[in-house]
Symmetry: C2
Subunit: 125 residues, 2 copies
C-alpha cells in the first residue's frame, strides 16, 4: 500500500484519494443532480435540501477546479451561471451509482424504511 503526494497532501491509498475528490457531504449530491442535465446555481440550491450558499459555491468551485463540472457564465442581467457535468464527472457518477446501490442494500439489511418522513419536515423546522 504505497503512499503518495498530491497537492502537498500525503495519501495512503487510492480510496482516500478518490474520497478526497468526490467525498464530503455535498459533492456526490451535486454530481448526482447534474448527471443528466445542465443546471443553474439557483436550481441546484433549491434541489439540494439544507445546503447553504457557502457550501454550494465552495463545493462547485472545487469540482470545477478538479474538472468534474464546467461552469458557463452568461453576460446577462440578472446574471446566469450554468453548471454541466464533464466526462470526468460522468465517470464519477458511475461509482456514485454503485455506492448508492450498495447503500440501498445496506438499508435493507438494517431494515431502514425508505419512505418520506413528513413529521420531521413539519415539526423539525
Amino acid at each position: 500500500m504505497p503512499e503518495f503526494l498530491y497537492k502537498s497532501k500525503l495519501y495512503y491509498n487510492p480510496v482516500e484519494f478518490a474520497m478526497d475528490r468526490i467525498g464530503g457531504t455535498w459533492k456526490m449530491p451535486i454530481l448526482w443532480r447534474l448527471k443528466d442535465r445542465v443546471m443553474r446555481y439557483g436550481e441546484l440550491k433549491k434541489s439540494i435540501p439544507r445546503i447553504t450558499d457557502k457550501m454550494l459555491s465552495t463545493q462547485l468551485r472545487d469540482l470545477e477546479l478538479e474538472g468534474f463540472v464546467s461552469r458557463q457564465v452568461f453576460a446577462e442581467v440578472p446574471p446566469r451561471v450554468e453548471y454541466r457535468i464533464t466526462s470526468r464527472g460522468k465517470r464519477a457518477v458511475t461509482i456514485i451509482t454503485e455506492i448508492r446501490n450498495y447503500g440501498l442494500l445496506l438499508m435493507k439489511e438494517f431494515g431502514v424504511d425508505q419512505q418520506r418522513i413528513r413529521e420531521i419536515r413539519k415539526s423539525g423546522d
Copy 2:
C-alpha cells in the same frame, strides 16, 4: 430522493447512509486488511500507518456493533483478541474494491505517481 431516519439521524440519500457505515478515515483500511484473514489488534495496529489506539479501538467497536466484523476474545495471558470479517463486511469489501479501482483511475487522470516516497518518511517526521 426520500429522506429517512436511522438511529435518530436524518439521512437524505443512500450514499450518505453507506458512507456513515463504512466511511471516515479508518474503516475502509481496516476492512481491507481483514478481507482475507483474521488479525489480532496489534497486527492491525502495526499494519495501518499512523493509526492511534484510540482510533483503532473506536472504529473496530463501531464496525463490530454494526456487524461488519466480529471479535473473538481468548481467555489467555497475555490477552488475545482476534478480528474477522463477516459476510456483511465482505459485501462492503466489494464496494471498497470498486472505489479503490476508481481511485486508481483518478490518480492516472491526475498524473499521480504511485511510488513510495522515501524522502517524506525520512525528513517530514
